[in-house]
Amino acid sequence: MIRYVSGRLLLGVVTLWVVITITFAFLRVVPGGPFDRERRLPPEIEANVKAKFHLDEPVPAQYARYLGAIARGDLGPSFKYLGRSVNDILGDTFPVSAQLGLLALAYGTLGGIAAGLLSGMRRGHASDRIVMLAATTGISLPAFVVGVLLILLFAHTWKLLPPALWEGPSYRVLPAITLGLAPAAYIARLTRSSVLDVMARPFVTAALAKGVGAWRLALRHVLRNAVLPVATLFGPLFADLLTGSFVVEYIYSVPGMGRFYITAVTNRDYPLIMGVTIVYAALVILANLAVDLSYRWLDPRVSLGAKEADA
């Protein structure tokens, strides 16, 4: 187990290095640099600015410098937000995105599983149809449409909830709903189909024949087997939601890190783009590891690592 985990972590570090290298290379190839402005800088000033951020060095030297800094946990200074480090910026914004993401994840997962279970157990009933209609809608509607609709209804028309900003708990509601809607819908559909799959298995028929109550059966036997595919989805979903969504954070003016996926690129803020990419990649790697580990707990038939499986 320890060998497995450390092996996976090592692989994760290699993956991260590849991601860093590719991103670094892309940034140097993309036309337009961080200090291209509508007001052109006089050449001597441009030289000073480039020297300050070591952009006057050859690219391989910049790369080596960057990797060295990363190894020390230093993501470097932002080119746009002067005097602030990328560590500071992500330190301020990641917790906000994470808070919103966890709320969305919690309601998306629990709501999605519950809806999927209900729908699967009552296949063909009106409740099934309603849940599936809602799920299809939730998947099809992009967040910016959902967000705007919710603002229109809850903030404009009924004046129940604030349309934007990040002050008290009431400010969390609409962004969390918007962010969690698509995952909830997706999870509901996935849960439903695996519930149907499990319901067709012989052990279920046997249990039913023994007279086990339908809902007792659902909660004790079906659910556990049916959430396995959901767990697969959970890894990338976790990283996605926690690192913030550009659209949702933008619509509701949530001070999270999601906005940097776009703004850091338009500003050509190289260190910030790298920082955001690294955080996202690291979370995906860790979440996938966590999911693989949880398989073993959810389904004892699953073994970790190919070698063990062969043995």
Partner: protein, 524 residues
């Protein structure tokens, strides 16, 4: 005793106060507005952008500030005088200037700040604001190491003397700008780059930095050491990235001021809160004057003459003023009579003389612009105007902003767009950019005659003579050689709460908020 209903009311009021969005919860005198984004810096020397400017002009003050007519008025300096025919300028500081920590504001603070601005290690992008000062450009370029050789000297605590290499008449105006605000050597030595955080920041303006939640909100509260008390109890600047969200918040009463997105202007033009202020900002199309067909001034003139500029306010709705000369309305030496106005006969004649009668055999040329709704609308309109009026077909190409800027400066497309907003309200700021050595001249056009006129006008103290020099220069730029076709000057369109009085935004887009006061008696 309070009964249950009162208790609930109190609870509700408490909750509203805690969330900071109570609309009718007693007298609220904090002015709330949107910055659109996080200020890139609150270090005055490093500022380059409008967002930082909005905050800094309220946190600090320079030697001078703008009056209602955009002339410099005394601020940290009580008065100033020009000596030696303008080669030396002496600023006399007011005796009661105080930093927010109680220390006196001295001429040495200004000397330190200005030399820090020029120090190559500071890498300040706007160091060139002082390049008219003796030794400044050389010090910034690392050609001289000794800051004592730069012509900025605190003669004593109250007197700052500036020696100018070029006696530009607008120098006092430049000191209104944020990069020339004073900074404190001891504070920067103690905290380094992070000196701008709350608790460390020391300013000399009407407000002090109370809190700064990055990416979300900056709060300013009155600086008790400042000589006047602001008419309000503070400012909360939010960072809402989207203008339509800003508008929603304004409509709900969560903001006291909102800048209108262009698409919403028609809906609010008759609203009681609507206001419009013309800006010293202009939009122009430039030609690549080195490459055919625009290396021929007749072709450039034909393209400029064929533009009916009166369409812009109609298609853009932002209160644009059509502009055929380059110095914008509201600025000294603006001259609407100059420029190539809409004249189809002459346009066609010029094109025929250049060898393209009726637009025949005119080569395939490209108009490049950065992707943006307004820019696209203008480009499409000009494409059809040139097609209709001259019989030429131009292709449009949209580009992402930074890639666009790189291309315009490195290898300009045949026709491209850019805008310019005044850094200081003097024609030099607009005219200087098209001199041969300016980094902002992307036309590849150069005229020694034009350069001489602009250089002479910069140091000409006599207004009538100065205006003549600029008229002549503008005729070369906008009529004779026409490397650019000016299009229109912009306005700022915004909503301001009727509860707030004494709020003014000037043509430089400055908002000095200390005079904004809340009218008594709730919503008007």
């Amino acid at each position: 005793m309070i009964d249950r209903r009162d208790f609930l009311k109190l609870l509700g009021a408490g909750a509203l106060a805690a969330t900071g969005c109570g609309r009718d919860a007693g007298p609220r005198r904090i002015f709330r507005m949107n910055l659109l984004s996080e200020p890139p810096t609150l270090d005055p020397n490093l500022g380059t952008d409008n967002v930082s400017l909005r905050v800094l002009t309220n946190l600090m003050e320079g030697l001078t500030a703008y009056d209602e007519n955009l002339r410099p008025k005394p601020a940290a300096a009580q008065r100033w005088e020009r000596l030696d025919g303008g080669h030396r300028v002496r600023f006399y500081l007011r005796p009661d200037g105080r930093w927010s920590d109680g220390r006196s504001v001295t001429a040495r603070d200004f000397e330190y700040s200005w030399k820090r601005l020029l120090d190559p290690r500071t890498a300040a992008e706007y160091a060139y604001f002082l390049f008219d000062v003796e030794g400044a450009a050389d010090y910034n370029a690392g050609k001289i190491d000794d800051p004592a050789k730069v012509g900025i000297t605190a003669l004593d605590d109250r007197t700052l003397e500036v020696k100018l290499a070029r006696p530009v008449v607008f120098f006092p105006t430049v000191t209104t700008f944020m990069v020339l605000f004073p900074v404190r050597a001891d504070v920067i030595a103690k905290h380094g780059d992070a000196w701008t955080e709350p608790g460390r920041f020391v300013g000399n303006g009407p407000y002090q930095l109370d809190s700064w939640r990055h990416e979300y909100k900056v709060s300013l509260r009155p600086n008790p050491r400042f000589r006047r008390r602001p008419a309000n109890n503070g400012i909360d600047f939010f960072m809402v990235n989207e203008r339509t969200v800003e508008l929603t918040l304004y409509e709900r009463g969560d903001l006291d001021f909102a800048i209108l997105p262009p698409t919403e202007i028609p809906r609010f033009e008759r609203h009681r809160d609507f206001r419009r202020t013309p800006m010293l900002r202009a939009e122009y199309y430039g030609f690549n004057c080195r490459r055919a067909p625009f290396n021929d001034p007749r072709v450039r003139r034909a393209f400029s003459l064929a533009i009916d500029r009166s369409v812009f306010p109609r298609i853009l709705h932002g209160g644009e003023t059509p502009l055929s000369s380059w110095i914008p309305p509201g600025m000294f030496a603006h001259e609407p009579a100059i420029g190539l106005g809409f004249d189809l006969d002459r346009a066609r004649r010029e094109l025929t003389q250049a060898g393209y009668p009726g637009g025949r055999s005119f080569p395939d040329v490209e108009v490049a612009f950065n992707a943006d709704d307004e820019r696209k609308l203008v480009a499409e309109n000009l494409q059809s105007q040139w097609g209709e009026h001259l019989g030429v077909r131009v292709r449009l190409r949209q580009m992402e902003w930074k890639a666009y800027l790189r291309e315009v400066s490195a290898d300009p497309p045949p026709i491209w767009r850019l805008g310019w907003g005044a850094d200081y309200p003097d024609p030099d700021n607009f005219m200087n950019m098209f001199t041969a050595t300016s980094g902002n001249n992307h036309t590849r056009w150069a005229s020694t005659e034009f350069d001489h006129l602009v250089a002479a006008a910069a140091v000409e103290p006599e207004p009538a003579r100065r205006k003549q020099l600029y008229d002549e220069a503008q005729r070369i730029l906008c009529e004779r050689d026409a490397p650019i076709a000016p299009l229109y000057a912009r306005a700022q369109n915004y909503l301001a709460s009727p509860r707030v009085r004494g709020l003014w935004i000037n043509a430089m887009d400055y908002l000095y908020l200390e005079t904004a006061r809340f009218a008594a008696g709730g919503d008007a």
